[in-house]
Amino acid sequence: MSARDDVFANIRRSLGVTGKEATRRGIVAARLQEPSRGPIPARGQGSPAAKMATFITEAQRVSATVVVLEHAAAVPAEVARYLRESNLPLQVRIGADVRLTQLDWHGAGMTTLDGASAGADLSAVSHAFAGVAETGSLIVLSGPDNPVTLNFLPDNHIIVLSAADLFGDLESVWAKLRRDLGKGVMPRTVNIITGPSRSADIEQTLLLGAHGPRRLHILITLD
C-alpha cells in the first residue's frame, strides 16, 4: 500500500469511517461551498471614516507610518518627500500595476525600475489589493503587477492603498478576492503585511528590520 493510501486508511480506521459516508461528504462539500465566518471583532467595523481611523491607529501601533492623500496623482511627490527625508536616493522599484506605472514619477524627480528585485534595491513601491482596519494589515497579491520580491528584499517598503479597498476584516477581503479572481482561484502568493519586519529572538528584545524591510510607509489615496 502506498504511503498516501496507508495514511488515509489509518485516519479512517481511527475515526471509524469509510470516507464514503454521504452525510460526512455533504457536510464537507457544504462548508467549502459556503464558507462559515467565525466571530468578527467589532473593532474593525463601522463607517468608512471609522474604518479609516482604526486602520491608521492599528498600522501605527505596529510601527508603520501612514499618510492620507486626496489624489493618487500625489503619490510620486509623497514618495519623493519620504525618501528625501530619510536621506535615500530618489529611486524605487515598481511592478507593472497601472495604478503605479501611470503616475508621473519623473515629474517628482524620481526614477523607477521595473520587474522583480534581486536584492540591490533600497526602496520599492507596491499597490495593495486591500487593507484591513481591524489589524492595520495590507494585502498584496503576487504577479507582474506587484512582484513578491518587492515586499521583502528592499529596506524601505512603500505600499499604496485605495481607500475604497479598505475593509473591516479579512473575511471581507476574501469575498473580494473570490469576486475579482473567481472562486477557488488564488495568485501564487497572497501577502498579508502588518508593519515592518521584526524579531525578538535575542532576549525577547523587539527589533525592527530582521530580514524583511526595516520600514513600512503606507499611502492611502482617497480618489
Binding site: 475515526l15 507582474p144 497572497v190 528584545t205
Partner: protein, 477 residues
C-alpha cells in the same frame, strides 16, 4: 527518528538546568516577553473568549472530517500545479525531501522555522546527503550554530543570553573584526541579517513549514515576523512545504479565525507581521517566485491519535502559550524535556510520538496548576490529557515502584475509615509530640523528599475528626 530523545533523563536534565546560571538568567525573559504582552492583547479584544470557543470547534470539525479535507486539499494542490507527497513517518519524509533537493542539484537549502522538520530531524538528513541546510529564522540560526535543538516552539533561542549569542557569532563568523561591537541585540541582528541575506540569494531549495493548509484552495500558510520565511520560499527555484496532516482547515475564513487567536496567544501581537498564503508554483507571467512547489504531508503517529483520548492534542496550533505560562517550563527551560516539544503541549505530545516508556516523566512533571489550559487558544485540556498518560502508565505498571507502593498503602487505609481514623489519630499525636515546641520538622524519616527542600509543618496533635466528635459529645451533654 533521527533526534535521540533524552526525555528518560528528565530529572537529571532538570537538575543541570536549575544550576545553569546563564540559562536561568535567559529564562527570566519569558515573563516580560510573553505573559504580559499576551494579556494586554487579550484585554484589547473583547471577543477573545468567543474566538477561543470557535477555534476549538473548528479544529474539532476538521479532525472529524480530516480524511475528506485532506482529499480536497490534495486535489487543489495538484490543480494549481503543485506536487503533494505523503509520509508515514520521519524516514519517509526525510527521503522525499532529500530526493527533491537532489533532483534539483541543490547545494544550499534554506529553511524557515518548522517544528515538524525538527521532529523528523530534517537538517541531519539534508547534511548527510551532502547538502548544506541553513536555518534562516534568527533564533533557529543561532541554535543551529550551536548544534542545539529549539528550547521553545516559537522562540527557539529563548534559553540564550545575548552574551552567548555574541560568543557564537564571533566563533562562526570568521570575517568579524575583533573590535566590532556586538554587545547589543540590534548589532547581533544586523550581523545575522547580513550573513543570511547571502544565503537567501544563493539557495537552490527553500523549505518552510505551514501554520495552516487550506482545503478550499490548496494553499499553505506561513506566519512569521522576520520575513525569513518569505525570502526562503520566494527566491529559490524550488519551494518545499513540510506540514503535519492536522494543519488542514476548510476555507480562508477558517484560517482567519485561527489567525486571530494564534499571534495573540503566541507573542501578544494582534497579527504577526507576515502572513503568507502560497498556492502552487509561480504562474507563467510571474516575474518571481519558485518554479516548483512541493508539499510533504507527514503523519508520524498523528492518525493513530485520532478518535482516541489524545485527539484533543491535535487541535494544537503551536503558539507556545502553554509553555510561556508553565511554572515547570519557567524553572527548567525547554531542553530539559529532552525532545522536540517542551512544556505542557510537549508533555502530552511527546509520549504519543516517542512512546510513554520514554516520555513518561513529562506528564508527571506537572503541578496541574491549570494555567496552560486557561490560556490555550484552542482549549486543549492539557492537565486532563497528562492525567490520561498517568493512567496509561499506572495500568501498564510503568509508575515507579515506590510511588505505587506508597499509593497502595495509603489507598488501603483511605478505603477503611474505621481503621484510618484511630490510626491517623495516633500517628498525628506521635508526630506532634516528636516535633515538640518547634512546630515543624527540618528532617523526618520517609519524608526526605519533602524535607530536603523545605520544613514540614508538624500536625497540631489531635485530628479534626476526633476533636469534632469530642465537641459534639460535649454539646449534646
Amino acid at each position: 527518528m533521527s533526534l535521540h530523545p533524552t526525555t528518560p533523563e528528565f530529572k537529571q536534565n532538570a537538575h543541570v538546568a536549575l544550576h545553569d546560571a546563564e540559562l536561568q538568567k535567559a529564562l527570566g525573559h519569558v515573563q516580560g516577553g510573553f505573559i504580559y504582552k499576551r494579556q494586554s492583547a487579550v484585554d484589547r479584544l473583547p471577543e477573545f473568549e468567543v474566538l477561543r470557543d470557535s477555534a476549538r470547534d473548528l479544529k474539532d470539525h476538521v479532525l472529524a472530517h480530516l480524511d475528506l479535507y485532506l482529499e480536497m486539499y490534495e486535489a487543489r494542490v495538484r490543480a494549481s500545479g503543485g506536487h503533494i507527497h505523503f509520509a508515514r513517518n520521519a524516514n519517509e519524509a526525510n527521503k522525499i525531501i532529500v530526493d527533491i533537493c537532489k533532483a534539483h542539484d541543490a547545494k544550499t537549502v534554506t529553511k524557515g522555522k518548522s517544528m515538524v522538520s525538527e521532529e523528523i530531524g530534517l537538517n541531519d538528513a539534508i547534511e548527510a546527503a551532502g547538502m548544506k541546510a541553513v536555518e534562516t529564522d534568527l533564533g533557529e540560526y543561532i541554535i543551529q550554530l550551536r548544534h542545539e535543538t529549539p528550547s521553545h516552539i516559537i522562540a527557539p533561542a529563548v534559553h540564550l543570553t545575548k552574551e552567548q549569542v555574541e560568543r557564537e557569532f564571533r566563533r562562526e563568523h570568521t570575517h568579524l573584526p575583533k573590535d566590532r561591537d556586538l554587545s547589543q541585540p540590534v548589532q547581533l541582528l544586523t550581523e545575522a541579517r547580513g550573513v543570511l541575506r547571502e544565503k537567501f540569494l544563493a539557495a537552490d531549495v527553500g523549505i518552510t513549514g505551514a501554520n495552516f493548509l487550506i482545503a478550499e484552495t490548496g494553499t499553505s500558510i506561513i506566519v512569521t515576523n522576520e520575513g525569513n520565511g518569505d525570502l526562503t520560499q520566494s527566491l529559490p527555484k524550488v519551494h518545499v512545504v513540510i506540514a503535519s496532516i492536522e494543519k488542514i482547515v476548510p476555507t480562508l475564513e477558517d484560517a482567519s479565525l485561527l489567525m486571530r487567536v494564534l499571534a495573540r496567544s503566541a507573542t501578544g501581537q494582534d497579527m504577526s507581521v507576515y502572513t503568507t498564503l502560497s498556492t502552487g508554483p509561480r504562474r507563467a507571467e510571474d516575474p518571481d517566485g519558485p518554479a516548483h512547489y512541493h508539499v510533504v504531508l507527514v503523519d508520524n503517529g498523528r492518525s493513530s491519535m485520532l478518535g482516541g483520548e489524545f485527539e484533543d492534542m491535535l487541535r494544537c496550533i503551536r503558539c507556545g502559550a502553554c509553555m510561556n505560562h508553565c511554572p515547570v517550563y519557567h524553572a527548567v527551560g525547554g531542553h530539559a524535556y529532552g525532545w522536540v516539544y517542551p512544556g505542557p503541549m510537549g508533555a502530552v505530545l511527546t509520549p504519543s510520538l516517542i512512546g510513554v516508556d520514554k516520555g513518561g516523566h513529562l506528564p508527571n512533571a506537572s503541578t496541574f496548576c491549570g494555567r496552560c489550559e486557561s490560556v490555550c487558544p484552542v482549549k486543549i485540556p492539557l492537565p486532563k490529557l497528562m492525567r490520561h498518560w498517568r493512567e496509561r502508565e499506572f495500568e501498564r505498571h510503568l509508575t515507579p515502584a515506590v510511588q505505587r507502593f506508597g499509593l497502595g498503602v495509603w489507598a488501603y487505609f483511605a478505603r477503611r475509615p474505621a481503621l484510618y481514623r484511630p490510626l491517623t489519630s495516633l500517628a498525628m499525636k506521635a508526630l506532634s509530640l516528636l516535633a515538640g515546641e518547634k512546630g515543624r520538622f527540618a528532617k523526618l524519616p520517609l519524608a526526605s523528599g519533602w524535607t530536603q527542600y523545605r520544613d514540614l509543618p508538624a500536625p497540631s496533635g489531635q485530628t479534626f475528626q476526633s476533636q469534632w466528635r469530642a465537641r459534639q459529645k460535649e454539646r449534646s451533654r
